[in-house]
Amino acid sequence: MASHTSSETFTDQVRAAPGGEKITYCFSCGTCTATCPIQWIEENYNPRRIIKMVMLDMKEQVLSSPFIWLCSACDICYRRCPQDIRISDLMKAIREVAIQEGYEPVRIVAQVDERTCAGCGMCAQTCPYEAIELRIRWVNGQQRALPEVDRLLCHGCGTCAATCPSSAISIEDLSDELIVTQIREFAEVTGS
């Protein structure tokens, strides 16, 4: 937990979090926003605006915004950013501050079903965001290796859910059953 002094601004807080160091480099050129593939889907997502709002210390508006949870860390903008800012890291830093301040991630994350999990660890290996870690825990008097999902790091991509051989990991609100039902209904509607 970062120490908070009265003079510490929101920008300072983000700068102090890992990945947030370069935030003040941003001169608002808009390259990231114009690059972002998430912007194609969610028109109101604007990384440049989020960075600017942080620098204007609009803490409440930024941390309660659903947009800070959207970056998928594809890093296309990083390659084009003229100020050498890795915006995915910056977003991670902003999220870190959000979690510290008690804000909940506004996005779906992976969930583990401890009853069916075999502890093979394939989910941890495939996760592109290194959000899953195997931890030894005592469950009902048994010592078991169970995956733990870091809600901060998980982007809800579902790679783990598709990989899991025992279907023990799934994405909230997007379970295998739900997807299969959707496919069935779609097949029925199209009549094949």
Binding site: Y25, F27, S28, C29, G30, T31, C32, T33, A34, T35, Q39, E43, N46, R48, R49, C77, R80, P82, Q83, D84
Partner: protein
Amino acid sequence: MVDAARHPKVDVRTYTEVERVEGFVGNFKVQLREKSRYVHEDRCNGCGECAEVCPIEVPNYFEMNLSPRKAAYVPMSQSVPLVYTIDMDACIHCYKCIEACGKLDAIDFSLEDRLVWEDVGAIVVATGFSHFDPSVIPEYGYGRYPNVVTAIEIERLINSAGPTAGNLIRPSDGINPTRMAIINCVGSRDKRFNPWCSNFCCMYGIKNAILMKQLNPEMDITIYYIDIRTPSKGYEGFYDRAREMGIRFMQGRPTLITEDPETRNLYVHSEDMTVGQVVEREYDMVMLNQAAVPQPDVDTVSSVLNISQSPGGWYMEYHPKLRPMDSPTDGIFLAGACQGVKDIPASVAQGSAAASRAGRVLHAAEWEIEPVVASVWEDRCISAQGKRCGVCARACPYGAIQYEEGKAPHIVVAKCHGCGGCVAECPQNAITQLHFTDAQILAQIRALLADRPEEKVLALRCHWCSYGGADMAGTSHFEYTANERGLRVMCSARMDTDFIYEAFRLGAGAVLYSGCHSQDCHYITGQRVGSTRADRLLRAFDRMDMTPGRFRIEWISAAEGDKYARVINEMQELLDSIPKEELLEEIERLRPQMEKRARRMREVPQVEEALEYADRLKMAMIGEEV
């Protein structure tokens, strides 16, 4: 240019390179390589018959390779002198040109480069700048999409003397574009390539937009920018005029250009920041306003002239505000963009300033230099006794020390700038610096640490930066401890290890070793000499188990008054945090080692005398026996 060439007192040498420079201010000897044109300059009358018959065509560099030229060529029609050159890389030796030249007999394939020596009093470097190649930015597609062109290519395409006689056409199909995008900051203000602002591109882009609008008032022109910078006189009015003419300005740096493979039209993707929306607009042609970069051969030129470079590769000026046209080497002056990107008015101003600075040298029978130069005590030099050394010559940033084995070094006084690097580096203490002799500085240290030395922070400051930083702290009223004792030398290179050993031997609480940041050094590489030595000292004190922080190295610019005050206060806090008995015990423990390391100091001429004098003064001041 023509006037210059005709002037009886101006000797224009074109197609010539400077190979070597020797000597010093007022007395330079310059070796020039006059490259062979394979044409007798005195016979050629510039009629161009040779070019007419020449069967070889190569891309014309002057026209940005948009049109061809012959292997027998002049770079441009206004060339001075108007003498043709045979491009031997392209020539097939058909000798048709010799035939065409006929009676003039100007062409001679046996001509070779000539090496000549010239005596000159002063040198003005005005080598200009080069252009950034935007093809390394894959997202803009320069080199892949024919209709993405650079600003200089547009410049030629709209020039009435250019390859299209001023008819602006796009390269893919030759039609006149009606929708044009101009992208600013291509490769500049970009940490991936060149972090600097290229200074003139905003105005230059606006100029080209206005010219194109004048050619075709119907043309739809959009300038993409991050910031528009129009700071000089009348520039903002020019920007106003562009907007009045209907040129559109769009804030937001484009991220991508895509091409329609059928029409070869281009789509520019950017965020329009004023509305906060991502937009994609279609254009017939895109002009990239590419960064200005240093000439590719800056390293060669700076080593030939012995002048240093600022970060990025621009030639370093003596002082950025007060002497921007002087190089750190006396008698060598800088003009124009080679010293840093600047536009035409600024280049002209600097060029005139450099010329008048050079004029001062040429009209002076004698040249005054700073009196703080180095001088050698030959009887102390081990090289004079036949041993190998040369440490002094290696430390000199100006090449002012001529070293020959078996002899005492010869210091070319006119080249010496008085950094004192050689003085401090000499292992035999065989060199001294006038007005900054070991004796003078050691006497000062004695006096500064006369009373309760364990409470003092002795700050060694360089004249140009950290001394200015301390001054800035004072004028800005940044408070720092009254226990600080400052000592000025010209450069951190002068800060002899003896001074620091002597300070600790006398019981100094803490010693600060401060100077310019490496890139700001006023003695080219003096700071590096000082910094290497300081690091060595730090390691030595570490091995002696001295409390870390009692010897501190900080590089502080003249603008960093706050940093100076902070560093001094931190050092005071460190001293406060050590119990006094422990500190005194440590000083006593280390004293023999300091004594041992500084023992040779007393052999230096005048030192003993000066120290005695300092001690007498101390006694008079505080009435205490040493």
